[in-house]
């Protein structure tokens, strides 16, 4: 009898597995591709999870009168360390895990390789990490092949640079108005990295055109642990503004020393470390008033931004970065699926092209090259400043008629005011 019991039990288990696999086959599988051992991949994942939890809680995605749940597949691309690994991971997800759609990507070189694999299989790939214009230029060059690619975040790197200079211009204008400095001197402070080179070149060209003066150029290592010498030189140069371009860990010692030495120059530009939640603790509050470009901020970019920002921060223990754009990407995809009533990529592409979606990053409308539109009333990116332990949105404020609800005025650091007001 015991033998029969075992056989019966095994049959039940097999049936369970069989029907279980059938129910799995009824899922919509979305592959989240990113370097999962790094913060970028983790934000891809948390962003996607946030969207899927909500969509599945309301019953899933309505496809042809039937509600299908979404199942996320984690694709660790390892792309920061290994490019072929990324392409293999995506092909594995497509052929083995049978993903229907892809979201994510980070390192441009790897995204090119992943994009090619996804396009070979005619899989819709919503980019949420690589900013280079070429990724979308491919859509224009060979539409039939690359039409399945759409970029949700970040905005095109050309516009990222534009926002960077808008922030510099805003700080220059405020210093002019409040401190009476007609032609502020700008110190270009950029880490020694390839990505920073075009920004430095553009800064040298644009700063004089913006009615400001260049005080000098400083290029410390991205991993420098002490930048006292550079900051002392900036102090001696008489600069009023430090235009930062920092993505590496040097952003912490920079901000710490800047606050500690009370360098009389406002700090604005890109400091990736200052976008993170741990920045305040890491600098012991000395990073107060540091200003950096960002994608999200805890303001009403749209009605969904603050709930997303809060829930993401609670879940991830970090403020969302542009990689968390997987949240918007999945919602856009779901909208298109529900409107088209199908999972067929070729039928979804025209629907995605018609997207007009209010996401956490702003109003998302795709250009004809499937890039996210930048500008007032579309996705703008943000400027954020640390103000007494809180990361506040300081841009856009009265920019092209746009002010996000909750945004505050940019504050010039008090020691900068003290130094230059006297003169």
């Amino acid at each position: 009898m015991r033998g029969w019991g075992r056989i019966f039990g095994s049959v039940i288990v097999l049936l369970f597995i069989f029907f279980g696999s059938i129910s799995i086959a009824q899922d919509i599988k979305i592959g989240v591709a990113g370097p999962m051992a790094f913060i970028q991949g983790q934000h891809h994942w948390f962003g996607a999870e946030y969207a899927v939890e909500e969509i599945n809680a309301r019953g899933g995605v309505l496809v042809g009168g039937k509600r299908l749940p979404i199942k996320l597949i984690k694709i660790d691309t390892n792309e920061i360390l290994n490019v072929p690994d990324a392409a293999s991971a995506v092909e594995r997800a497509i052929t083995r895990d049978k993903v229907d759609f892809l979201v994510g990507g980070f390192r441009t070189e790897a995204v090119f390789a992943m994009q090619d694999v996804a396009m070979d299989y005619k899989k819709i790939f919503m980019g949420c990490g690589a900013a280079h214009p070429e990724l979308c230029a491919r859509v224009a060059k060979d539409y039939n092949k690359y039409k399945y690619w759409f970029r949700v975040t970040p905005i095109n790197s050309m516009f990222l640079a534009k926002v960077d200079f808008i922030l510099l211009g805003m700080v220059g204008k405020i210093m002019g108005m409040e401190l009476g400095i007609p032609k502020p001197k700008v110190a270009i402070f950029a880490e020694k990295a390839v990505w920073a080179d075009p920004i430095v070149a553009a800064a040298k060209e644009n700063i004089p055109k913006m009615g400001m003066e260049i005080a000098g150029e400083w290029r410390p290592s991205a991993t420098a642990t002490d930048v006292t010498a550079e900051l002392s030189a900036i102090n001696a140069s008489g600069a009023h503004i430090i235009f930062t371009t920092i993505s590496g860990p040097m952003g912490i010692p920079y901000a710490k020393k800047w606050g500690e030495l009370k360098i009389p120059a406002a700090s604005v530009g890109i400091n990736v470390e200052a976008q993170k939640k741990g920045f305040w603790e890491a600098t012991g509050g000395l990073g107060n008033y540091d200003t950096t470009m960002n994608t999200y901020a805890r303001v009403e970019i749209t009605s969904v931004t603050i709930p997303f920002y809060d829930k993401f921060t609670a879940k991830a223990g970090e403020f969302p970065t542009y990689n968390a754009g997987t949240n918007d990407a999945i919602r856009i995809l779901v909208n298109a699926i529900e409107k088209a009533g199908t999972l067929d990529a070729d039928k979804l592409v025209p629907e995605l092209e018609r997207t007009d979606f209010y996401g956490a990053a702003g109003r998302i409308v795709f250009t004809k090259d499937h890039d996210v539109t930048w500008g007032p009333n579309f996705v703008t990116a943000t400027g954020t400043q640390w103000q007494d332990g809180k990361l506040m949105c300081v841009w856009p404020v009265n920019w092209e008629g746009i002010t996000y609800k909750g945004a505050v005025k940019y504050k010039i650091p008090p020691w900068v005011v003290e130094k230059w007001k006297k003169k």
Partner: protein
């Protein structure tokens, strides 16, 4: 009758040359398995893994030809790979040349790179040579970023034509090239030139004292190694369809060394085995992504701890034995040499190479 004759010749070749040593039998069935595989399994992901394994196998074996055979420790082997990858990509993109032309030209460019490094590095030895070679791909990466108009800078060169029209065709191109080039490299190592390479590694002064121009042979090693690594770089770029800075990264150079040492250096087939075990292993470990790299490192360390001369060398030495008189390899359990009939059992009991 001619068919019967050639069948008999093949049978004779197999019985006299292949089925006499376990290592050759394994190599034979491995190659046969690779050739038959796409007829049985058409999974594109599996084929991709084998294609990439074949490409990196050529790359790792080419490192062995230079660093294993001649002892010229190269820590910047990615230079050859990257030079060929960029050359092939640029030629294909700008001039529209097909892969069968761009890949050999890319390999020739890698030969030139080999000569450019080889000439100044010939005066250096040991760690100094290793450090100097390490610097070259980093220098080239700097050049790549300096001329983004040609190299694409950080993005690399993309939009390249694929290696072949179908995955199966690409598979056969890579696998057959891997087998062919592996055989050529193995033959070089076994030739008169190979013996001089060995001798340079063991005692360069003695080789020079014998009237051999070691400079010429070391340059030859750099060029040959560059050529084979260049072929792999060209294949890679046409398969992945991008040639970017990752083809010059230090990690790629070290990967070649890990594969070669894991498989067993101074063998050619050792690095090939290393790649064919470790590359798919890394893919298999995707099932536990969190500890994938850690587990990979542990496996490599444990294997090398117990098999310090490499996996294939360890296995070969347990299955085969070299005749003390004529140096021909025999199955370990043979009592007399298959060629000169020397007593093999006596040697072991006296404490031969492996008896000590």
């Amino acid at each position: 009758m001619p068919v019967l004759f050639s069948f008999r010749k093949i049978r004779l070749f197999l019985s006299k040359e292949i089925f006499i040593l376990p290592s050759r039998i394994i190599a034979f069935f491995f190659c046969l398995g690779l050739l038959v595989l796409p007829l049985l399994i058409k999974d594109p992901y599996l084929l991709r893994i084998i294609i990439l394994s074949s490409i990196f196998a050529i790359f790792a074996a080419s490192w062995d030809l230079l660093s294993g055979y001649t002892g010229q420790m190269n820590f910047g082997h990615a230079l050859f790979f990257g030079v060929a990858a960029y050359t092939s990509a640029i030629l294909n993109l700008r001039l529209g040349l097909p892969p069968w032309i761009t890949i050999p030209i890319g390999a020739l460019a890698a030969v030139v790179a080999g000569l450019i490094i080889g000439i100044p590095c010939l005066r250096l030895r040991g760690p100094y040579l290793a450090l100097a070679t390490l610097a070259f791909p980093i220098i080239l990466m700097g050049i790549v970023f300096t001329i983004p108009g040609i190299t694409g800078g950080e993005l690399g060169v993309s939009g390249i034509k694929p290696l072949a029209r179908s995955r199966i065709l690409a598979y056969y191109v890579c696998v057959i090239l891997m087998m062919g080039l592996g055989l050529v490299m193995w033959k070089i190592g076994d030739s008169k030139t190979g013996i001089i390479f060995h001798a340079i590694r063991e005692d360069e002064v003695a080789v020079r004292a014998s009237g051999i121009n070691t400079t010429r042979y070391k340059l030859l090693a750099f060029s040959l190694s560059g050529f084979f690594a260049g072929i792999s770089g060209g294949l890679y770029t046409h398969f992945i369809r991008i040639a970017g800075p990752s083809t010059l990264e230090v990690s790629l150079s070290f990967q070649a060394i890990i594969w070669a040492i894991f498989g067993g250096v101074v063998t050619i087939y050792g690095p090939i085995t290393g790649v064919f075990l470790l590359y798919p292993l890394m893919e298999f470990l995707r099932i536990i992504p969190e500890i994938r790299t850690l587990l990979f490192a542990l496996i490599v360390i444990v294997i090398l701890l117990f098999m310090p001369e490499g996996l294939t060398t360890w296995i070969r030495d347990r299955m085969e034995e070299e005749c003390p008189r004529c140096k021909v390899r025999n199955v370990a359990w043979r009592k007399a040499c298959r060629v000169c009939f020397a007593d093999l059992g006596k040697r072991s009991s006296e404490g031969g190479e492996h008896g000590v």
